[in-house]
């Protein structure tokens, strides 16, 4: 891997343009990590400084601070550069504590499970 010149970096798919910038990393498991990009390589392994895990449930969100993270590239879905002049989230969303977001997640999980079990019961009745 040779070092690309500054002009080449601007035209290539290099993550160098995002270095030291605040980025959003979407992971395969659905997690959204935000932080400063400090390092990367050809596999899209990434070092994130000041990382925080943004959990969103409906209109509620919570940022859980994680510190310095090394992310293995195979888990990376997308790396987005956050525009600092724009709002990161829509204004109607409210920030809540970790305990509250966990409660909201559990409630959402229970509702989905209930919907699933109800559907199974209806399917058993076999309306044709």
């Amino acid at each position: 891997m040779s070092w690309a010149s500054p002009e080449d970096i601007l035209l290539s798919t290099s993550l160098a343009t995002y270095l030291d910038k605040k980025i959003l990393v979407l992971l395969r498991d659905g997690r959204k990590l935000l932080g400063l990009l400090r390092s990367f390589d050809q596999f899209a392994n990434v070092v994130l400084e000041g990382a925080c895990d943004r959990t969103i449930v409906g209109d509620l969100y919570c940022d859980i601070p994680l510190g310095l993270y090394v992310i293995r590239g195979e888990n990376v879905v997308l790396i987005g550069e956050l525009d600092l002049e724009k709002e990161e989230l829509p204004p109607h969303m409210t920030r809540v504590s970790t305990a509250e977001i966990k409660r909201a997640q559990k409630a959402e999980g229970d509702a989905t499970a209930l919907k699933g079990s109800m559907r199974k019961r209806m399917e058993f009745l076999d309306f044709d």
């Binding site: 040779s2 080449d8 959204k32 899209a44 990376v76 987005g80």
Partner: protein, 132 residues
Amino acid sequence: MFCHPNRLQRTKQSPFSPSLSLTSTRAKSSYALLHRQTKMLFFSYFKDLVGREVTVELKNDLAIRGTLHSVDQYLNIKLENTRVVDQEKYPHMLSVRNCFIRGSVVRYVQLPPDGVDIDLLHDATRREARGG
């Protein structure tokens, strides 16, 4: 890992490194003229599409519309001026205007109808199937 520009490190050359250097993205080489290019057909094809509006649908069902900025040998994609197709469902993507998408998570790349010269692509495919 790329850490400090002053440290000259040479990593092992990958067996899948392209015969074309990535710096030639500026050259508008037609993908049909690249013969005996094994595993490079779509890379060359996407390079010709740089600057066009595309919609990338990912395996996690997220669909992003944007201008194709660049592509690499792994078919990683960099998009500019991005907008998410179903914005309310993905509020965290609101302020993202440029993004890098790992090639392994792409399901579809939706192209403009005039983005494909089907005959040219057809010929290039036949040539690669024969020569590759």
